[in-house]
C-alpha cells in the first residue's frame, strides 16, 4: 500500500488518517477473508471438516472464527504500522470497497456455486 508520511497542518487536523485507513482496509480484508473461507468450506470436504470448531454450528463456526482472527490480526498490524502516517486514502478506500462488494457477491449462493 502506498503510505506517504507527510507533515500535518495544525489548522486542518490534529490526527493523521493512518489509523482510520488501517481500520477501513482491515474491515474490507476481514470481510473478504470470510467470503473466501465460506467458498472454500463449501467446495472442499477437507476444509469443511477442518473448520468445524463447534459441531452443532458446523463449518460456520470455523469460517467466522478464522475470518475474525484474520481481520483483527490485519487491523492490529496495519494500525501499528500506519497510525502516525498519512495514507493515500483514495486507493485504500477503493480497495476496501471492492473487497466488501466482492464479499457480498462471493457469499451469494448462485455466485458461490460457480467456483
Amino acid at each position: 500500500m502506498n503510505a506517504q508520511p507527510r507533515e500535518v497542518s495544525a489548522n486542518t487536523s490534529a490526527l493523521t488518517n493512518g489509523s482510520g485507513a488501517a481500520a477501513i482496509l482491515a474491515a474490507g480484508m476481514g470481510s473478504f477473508a470470510l467470503a473466501i473461507l465460506a467458498v472454500a468450506a463449501d467446495r472442499s470436504a477437507t476444509v469443511k471438516s477442518v473448520l468445524i470448531f463447534y459441531k452443532p454450528t458446523g463449518p460456520l463456526s470455523g469460517v467466522t472464527t478464522v475470518a475474525i482472527l484474520i481481520w483483527l490480526a490485519i487491523w492490529t498490524i496495519m494500525d501499528f504500522r500506519w497510525r502516525k502516517k498519512t495514507i493515500a486514502l483514495t486507493k485504500t478506500n477503493r480497495i476496501a470497497f471492492v473487497l466488501m462488494i466482492l464479499s457480498f457477491l462471493l457469499t451469494f449462493p448462485p455466485i458461490e456455486d460457480l467456483f
Binding site: 482510520g20 477501513i24 470470510l34 454450528t57 458446523g58 486514502l89 466488501m100 457480498f104 457469499t107 449462493p109
Partner: protein
Amino acid sequence: MEITARALWTMIHGMGFGALYLLACSGALVELYRFTSSSPASPSTPAPTSAQVRFLKVYLVAMVVLAWTAVLTGAYVIYPWYRAAVPPGTVDLSEFPQHLLMSSPSTIGWHSLGMEWKEHVAWFAPISISMAAFVFIRYGRDLGNHKQLRSAVLGFVAASFLAAGIAGFFGAMIDKYAPVQGGQTIQLMHGDKQ
C-alpha cells in the same frame, strides 16, 4: 399465551438484536453525516457539542454490541436448532427447520439461497460497524477534517445496513415458512375464557 424456549430465543435474536440494529443503522447514517459535515464557520450547520459527540460514541458502541450479539446468538444458539440432524424414522419435520424447508421444492430456496447467504453475509454487519465505531471514537469531531475517512465510514455503515437487512429479511421469511420450535413451553400470560 405460550411460547417455546426456542421461539423466544429466535424472537430475541431477530426482533430484539437484529431489528433494533436495523433501526439504529438509519439513525447512525444520518447522525454520522450530520456530525461530520457540520462546520463551525457555517451558522446553518453548527459544530456538534462535546455532549453530542459523546452520545454518538455511546450510540455506536451500543450498535457494535447489538450487531455482535445478533450474529453470535444466531450462529451459536439458533442455528444449531435450525440445522439439527433428523433422527431416523422421523416423519414430523416441524422441529427440524432446515430439513422441513428442503423437503419441498416450493420452500427449498429459502434454505439453499436464503439461509446459505444469510449465515455468512450477516457477519459483515458487526465487522463494518466495529470499524465505524472505532474510527468515530478515535477521530470524533476531527473526522470532519478527513473527508475520505468520513466517506469510507458512511459507506461501511451503509454496507452494514445492507448486510443486516439481507440477514433480517431472510431470517424473517425462513421463520415464517419453517419456524424454529421446541424446547420448554413458557406461559407468558393467561387469556380470558370464552
